[in-house]
């Protein structure tokens, strides 16, 4: 129907409206927010709803196009809608120093845009309840709206430069949002929040710098920032090099991947994500579950044709390592948000590994599903924290399903998704990733694939384990929180409640804006997989639908420049079956272990921890990565700063002071010289004259006889001379 046809004339302007609305919301709330009724929260949320609606509608257009078998790839520049932002007169468009930017809207963009829109809307809705009473309520809404604008802009950019601009803007918003409580002088966790947002910014900065350098290397070689042009030129370069990627491309590709390592919290730049839990829970949900961390994976998706096989091998290793590494830590954490943070890191590792293994599509799919269920998980955690009066330690929770049934159900749904239970979206995406690993291993037989094939299922097992550990510890058993927990949070919340004393000891369900958001996201978490499912006759076949493949397929994404891995039909089938059984096995296995340890308590987890001893402690201390960074990076930098301070104070100031002293000394010398030498010369001349005069005066005695004597002597001399000559 016409409603679902993509009309470039109208739809690009609609796409512009999508990020424009939250931007407008930001501006309004910054300047007028304090005076608005309810500080503008429903206004911004309403605006976000409109934005979301547009993204969903346009996403539907994309799906229907895929339905009809068409390629959905639209660039606004082709339709004359582009913004020339750096213009040098006299040069034609497309030459250096005449840069334009436009919108790229293809299947991937459509999917991502919709995801961001939906998650952002639900987070806005949730925040109305969660941030109630906060002293900087209006600023918070302004910030999350601006953040949404940045993420939407990033998804829509058709060139990597503007992509980077929005990337940086998201970094800034992440800093501001994580440090939200750091700006509030009354907050009990002011210092931790300030430290956390600084850490986040600095760590991602490392990745951002690498991305920038890589981007500029590509620009230097290809003279363009546009994605489509970059893909084309990269393919031509490879063809020119007889099918090999030149070394510089590998280097640049690694640098670009560096951006992903930073933003998507891969090892070793993952250290900021757990600390980022200092931010309010809606922030964690939006930024660190669904959107910002996904931007790194999205970057991989956009730059996949530029990556050489060496880079992809590195990508795989890093991703797999991250997935396993974070999953092991997640089993030891007791903070509810902390578990989710490490879970996020681990899942991002899955996505990155998928891209490295050649399953870019599956990585993107996992990104989409993960966004929904992880956002839901975070919001549920927020609900739990809110209900337990800011208690975050799971050891002081328990049996909450009696107090918060809605939250419990939503969380359980999302946990099933992340654990990879069939019929939930997470199962399909994770299964596909494991299948990719097996496929590659069976085709290429290289160490990287084997490593991935072994480690990823293990990580999946651990994922299921620790997520259900969370469920059992939090919602089942006896309530262990005997007193009002003042774990983390802000005093303002208590003021807002008003009935502090009555609820001091009883956890309670959250208000309706929060629960509504939870339900919405949970539904998507469950059904997201089904939506992508195609043939109703084969619901458990695990095939991603032909529609999804067409919507987000290698061919549609890169215009046919990237080929899928060469794999025979037989290998694919084998890998598929193997992956299916492995996925099921690890999912149920993990749940079973968690059940045994935490529900039935047949084995005491604490005893296991003691028996593992040193190993347990290393994992529980997060492998001492933070300490290592402190030793290797932070302390040398501080020492360098101290050295520079010393240099400045002693050498530079010493030079300056020394120059001053030198000046004084020269002045002294000059004065001495003037006094002794110059005046001495003058005086000396005078006294010499006086002395000579005195000497000469001796002749003038006034005595006549002496005058006569001299005269005679002179005369004699003259006569003698005359005689003798």
């Amino acid at each position: 129907m016409a409603l679902l046809r993509f009309d470039p004339g109208v739809d690009f302007w609609l796409l512009l409206a999508v990020p424009a609305i939250p931007l407008l919301g930001f501006v309004v709330n910054v300047f007028l927010g304090r005076g608005l009724p309810r500080k503008g929260d429903w206004l911004l949320t309403g605006g976000m709803f409109v934005s979301m609606a547009i993204t969903v509608w346009l996403g539907a257009k994309a799906v229907s196009a895929a339905f009809a078998g068409e390629t959905f790839f639209h660039r606004s520049a082709e339709h004359g809608i582009s913004f020339s932002w750096l213009y040098q007169s006299g040069k034609e468009a497309g030459s250096p120093l005449n840069l334009t930017t436009g919108i790229l809207y293809d299947g991937l963009s459509a999917a991502m845009l919709a995801v961001v829109g939906i998650v952002s809307f639900f987070v806005h809705l949730f925040s109305i309840g969660y941030m109630h009473g906060d002293r900087r309520y209006h600023v918070f809404f302004a910030n999350i709206s601006l953040f949404t604008f940045a993420m939407l802009g990033l998804v829509l950019s058709d060139n990597i430069l503007f992509f980077f601009v929005f990337w940086e803007l998201m970094g800034l918003m992440s800093y501001l949002l994580i440090g939200h409580f750091g700006q509030d002088p009354g907050s009990p966790r002011l210092l931790q929040a300030s430290a956390a947002c600084k850490k986040a910014f600095l760590t991602t900065r490392v990745g951002d710098t690498a991305l920038f350098v890589g981007m500029m290397i590509f620009y230097w070689k290809f003279q363009t920032f546009e994605f489509t042009e970059l893909w084309r030129l990269a393919q031509e370069e490879v063809a020119r090099n007889a099918g090999e990627h030149p070394a510089w491309m590998t280097a640049a590709g690694l640098l670009v991947f560096g951006g992903t390592v930073g933003k998507s919290a891969q090892f070793p730049l993952h250290i900021w994500l757990p600390d980022a839990m200092e931010g309010p829970t809606p922030v964690s949900a939006m930024i660190h579950a669904a959107t910002m961390v996904a931007a790194g994976v999205f970057l991989l998706g956009r730059t996949y044709p530029l990556m050489s096989p060496e880079v992809l091998a590195v990508v795989t290793v890093v991703g797999t390592l991250t997935a396993l590494f974070a999953a092991t830590i997640g089993t030891t954490v007791f903070d509810i948000k902390g578990v989710l943070a490490y879970s996020t890191i681990s899942q991002l590792g899955f996505m990155v590994a998928a891209c490295g293994l050649g399953g870019v599509v599956f990585g993107m799919f996992h990104m989409v599903t993960h966004a929904f269920f992880k956002a839901c998980l975070f919001l549920c955690a927020g609900s739990v924290i809110h209900g337990c009066h800011h208690e975050q330690d799971m050891r002081r929770m328990g049996g909450l399903r009696k107090f918060m049934p809605v939250t419990f159900l939503c969380m359980l749904a999302s946990t099933l998704a992340i654990a990879g239970i069939p019929l939930c979206s997470g199962f399909y995406s994770k299964d596909k990733i494991i299948q990719s690993a097996f496929e590659r291993g069976l085709t290429q037989f290289d160490g990287v694939s084997f490593f991935a094939a072994a480690a990823l299922p293990l990580a999946a097992l651990l994922t299921a384990f620790y997520m259900f550990r969370l469920i059992f510890m939090t919602f089942f058993g006896e309530y262990r929180g005997g007193h009002a927990g003042h774990g983390r949070g802000h005093h303002d919340e208590h003021d807002g409640h008003g009935h502090h004393e009555e609820h001091a000891h009883t956890p309670h369900e959250s208000p309706w804006p929060m629960t509504a958001a939870l339900c919405g996201l949970a539904l998507l978490g469950i059904l997201g997989g089904h939506f992508w499912l195609s043939t109703p006759t084969d619901p458990l076949a695990g095939h991603t639908s032909p529609w999804f493949l067409r919507l987000v397929s290698l061919e549609s994404m890169y215009g046919g420049r990237v080929a899928a891995l060469p794999a025979t039909e037989h290998v694919t089938h084998l890998a598929h079956s193997l992956a299916l059984w492995v996925s099921l096995g690890v999912a149920f296995g993990g749940i079973a272990i968690a059940y045994v340890l935490y529900q039935r308590k047949l084995v005491d987890p604490a005893r296991i921890a003691r028996n593992l001893g040193e190993v347990y402690h290393t994992v529980a201390n997060k492998y001492y990565v933070d300490e290592l960074v402190d030793r290797v990076v932070v302390r040398p930098t501080l020492a360098l700063a101290r050295l520079q301070k010393w240099i400045d104070e002693n050498l530079v100031d010493g030079i300056v002071n020394g120059a001053g002293h030198l000046n004084r000394g020269v002045g002294f010398l000059s004065a001495w010289f003037d006094l002794k030498v110059v005046d001495g010369a003058v005086n000396g001349t005078a006294s010499l004259t006086q002395t000579l005069g005195a000497l000469a005066r001796l002749v003038q005695t006034g005595r006549v006889q002496q005058y006569i004597s001299f005269a005679v002597a002179g005369g004699l001399a003259l006569a003698a001379w005359l005689i003798l000559s």
């Binding site: 005066r697 003038q700 005695t701 006034g702 005595r703 006549v704 006889q705 006569i708 004597s709 005679v712």
Partner: protein, 100 residues
């Protein structure tokens, strides 16, 4: 006698007169010394007048010298007396008003 002898005598008298002027602490000796010198000059004149052939010039000159020596002696004495009045001393060193 050759003229040389007379010249020698004249030179000796001249030297003595010079010594009298320079080396005595009495202004009268200055006066005496001047007269001796004039006498020496006169001897020279007359000796050469004689030995150049009885010429008259030398003797005429010597007469004029004598005349002027007399005049000079008168004036010199008057000056000496004046100086003595002013400085109350006959020492030539005392009259060093021209000293620097």
């Amino acid at each position: 006698m050759g003229v040389g002898a007379y010249v020698a005598v004249s030179a000796a008298l001249f030297g003595i007169g010079l010594v009298a002027i320079v080396a005595r602490r009495n202004v009268l000796y200055v006066l005496m010394g001047i007269e001796m010198i004039l006498n020496a000059a006169n001897i020279n004149f007359v000796a050469f007048a004689r030995h150049a052939g009885n010429r008259l010039d030398g003797q005429m000159f010597a007469i004029f010298v004598i005349i002027l020596a007399a005049a000079e002696a008168a004036v010199a004495l008057a000056i000496v007396l004046n100086v003595f009045h002013l400085f109350h001393s006959v020492k030539p060193e005392g009259v060093d008003r021209l000293r620097e």
